[in-house]
Symmetry: C2
Subunit: 203 residues, 2 copies
């Protein structure tokens, strides 16, 4: 539930944006979208995305616990979600306050355990991966520049169709370039300082 509520996208701009801003945005987007050399870029198998095998060694952005964007809370079980960024895309974000083209972000969901070993309260992460989704920026390939792929325990993931409301939700609510930087505590201040927050973003 968190994944689908969390992963949504279309273009950040809206029709009210004055022409001069559009022009400036396009210029800066080109500059900011440069893909760093040696970055791990998306690998496709026909229309599917190949899972980056070593994403657990990428840069951790944050973890959430039982997050839900729905007014109705999630059912009985607890869940963690961890988000990882490709390291050179992350370094690029540190410089620019936004993501370069070919960025890969991985959302990993894990079950939560309560009592176990010496833990008495709260929760720690379980060995079982409950869900895996990748958010890809590939401007030449995808409507709006980004796409979500879902992995059902396989090494290639299926494209989530751009008609799904996850895309429009990300476009409406994401802090930076349709990504939920508002939940990544080390990146949000950077985006603020670099002036890359989306106009539609509400803290």
């Amino acid at each position: 539930m968190v994944v689908r509520a969390r992963r949504r996208h279309t273009n950040v701009m809206n029709t009210r944006t004055p022409l001069i801003s559009v022009a400036l945005f396009c210029i800066s987007s080109l500059a900011l979208s440069e893909t760093p050399a040696e970055m791990h870029t998306p690998v496709y198998d026909k229309d599917q995305l190949v899972l980056p095998a070593n994403y657990r060694e990428w840069v951790f952005l944050s973890a959430g616990f039982d997050m839900s964007y729905s007014p109705v809370a999630s059912p009985g079980h607890h869940m963690f979600d961890n988000v990882f960024a490709e390291p050179l895309a992350y370094k690029s974000f540190l410089q620019a306050g936004t993501w370069p083209d070919k960025t890969l972000l991985v959302l990993e969901q894990r079950g939560a355990r309560g009592k176990g070993s010496i833990n008495q309260h709260g929760n720690y992460q379980d060995g079982a991966v409950m869900g895996l989704e990748v958010h890809v920026k590939d401007v030449a390939r995808f409507e709006g520049g980004w796409a979500f792929f879902q992995f059902d325990g396989k090494t290639t993931g299926k494209l989530v169709p751009h008609t799904e409301d996850c895309y429009s939700c990300h476009a409406s609510h994401a802090a930076v370039d349709t990504t939920f930087v508002q939940f990544y505590p080390t990146l949000l201040p950077l985006a603020k300082s670099k002036g890359t927050l989306s106009k539609s973003y509400q803290p």
Copy 2:
């Protein structure tokens, strides 16, 4: 509270270990303890440890939520803790199932937020770092081979005296080499398969 309950150590061996096992353990420890070239090793400023500035780019081991090892639950506020390993120490663990000498592990505690932006339920991580602690393996320097350093918003951390019960707790309960690998979901199966679980460890 989590930090102090979580960070405890002494030597894994006990006096009941037969001599032949001791000898084998010492040989294998020497092999496993080799520090990889180019690893970020501990830097000391007199008796304090210098905080590794880029620890957020290290390998994420796991995150916990409101974890407590005490029978009494923590007070009113929620908290996340994130754990990071120096990347080459992590790679060494993947090979050996235990940590090389000079390993640095960082525990970062962050406040938790509930409702915010579009999040309605559960918690996400706050910008404020509430606590920071580093667990260092430095066999030549510390009693039992490991030490904890606490950082109070500074760039150098104070040694937690080896008389503190965090050390004995880690020695008694930690899954691998006095570290709480039982809470790091990608490392625990590795330690099991490589036979490096501590004898005293209880799942």
